[in-house]
């Protein structure tokens, strides 16, 4: 017996020994049910991870395209916006409040996007 086993460890015999060590079947034991319970709805599951950045890029291109195709309107819009902001005297606390509000809005939007992405990732 020992000789036979020992012989299995000759150069080619290691292959046989490794193949003889194939794992035993694993009993399901509720695993399939746990997996099925963890699956996200297919509509969410099929949303690809790259969709959000792609949509953002497309919107950016669309806005740039509109701005380039309507230069007069774009110039008026920018000029008027600049005039409104510069004509109105802004104090430091107001500026800080505006920056704070913008930051809160940005982080809220980011948090919502991340939460949605995590739901998609399952």
């Amino acid at each position: 017996m020992t000789d036979r086993i020992g012989a299995a460890y000759a150069d080619d015999g290691l292959d046989a020994a490794l193949r003889a060590q194939r794992p035993q079947p694993v009993v399901d034991d509720g695993f399939t049910a746990r997996v099925m319970a963890a699956l996200p709805p297919l509509a969410i599951a099929l949303v690809p991870a790259w969709r959000k950045p792609a949509v953002a890029v497309l919107w950016t291109f669309a806005i740039i395209g509109i701005a380039l195709s309507l230069p007069g309107v774009t110039q008026d819009l920018v000029r008027e916006t600049f005039r409104v902001y510069t004509a109105y005297p802004v104090s430091l606390p107001q500026l800080a409040f505006a920056v704070g509000a913008a930051a809160i809005a940005m982080w809220t939007a980011t948090g919502y996007a991340v939460r949605t992405s995590l739901a998609v990732e399952g």
Partner: protein, 177 residues
């Protein structure tokens, strides 16, 4: 199947493949069965999400092994383990461990059970890359090409891992010769 959100069909797929995927991950996780089962669950959830991208370039089981291996790699990265590098696991350390095993095996090589246990212990001394290559080629019975697909590495690297692993295992099991 996807068009109709057929969970029943996917249930059959999970039931059919859960054993091989879990066994594969248990070998990769070197005995941490709880972690292996968590990763197996993650594997099937990812498979569900990516079913539409499965183009039948490989067998479905091979495709599942690839996802499972990626889950295992991601988990290992979280744990900051070094994987698949030229010196993953540290050849010198592993060979020291292998020598220790070889000494242990010279005790009383009397039956196949203890031999099997020694071989399992010897496998635990392998580096992550070597272990993964052995698991795919021997436990999962994949060809070198299929193992390369699963592990995301060139075929030559798979062969190198197998050769190194076998060298270490022979050294570790020297007491049985």
């Amino acid at each position: 199947m996807l068009a109709h959100d057929d969970r029943a069909a996917f249930t059959d797929l999970v039931r059919r493949h859960q054993s091989s995927v879990r066994a594969c991950l248990r070998r990769l996780c070197a005995g941490n069965d709880a972690l292996a089962d968590d990763l197996a669950q993650e594997t099937f959830v990812l498979a569900w999400r990516k079913l539409a991208s499965f183009r039948q370039e490989a067998r479905f089981s091979t495709w599942l092994y690839r996802i499972a291996t990626n889950c295992w790699l991601a988990e290992a990265r979280k744990r900051k383990e070094v994987l698949f590098g030229d010196h993953d696991g540290g050849d010198d350390d592993s060979e020291d461990d292998a020598m220790t095993l070889a000494v242990g095996a010279t005790g009383d090589p009397s039956d196949a059970t203890s031999l099997r246990m020694d071989l399992m212990r010897a496998r635990e001394t392998l580096s992550a890359g070597e272990r993964a290559a052995i698991v795919q080629c021997y436990d999962n019975d994949l060809s070198h090409e299929e193992a390369a697909y699963v592990l995301g590495m060139p075929v030559g690297t798979v062969k190198t891992h197998i050769l190194r692993a076998k060298k270490k295992l022979k050294l570790a099991m020297a007491g049985w010769e």
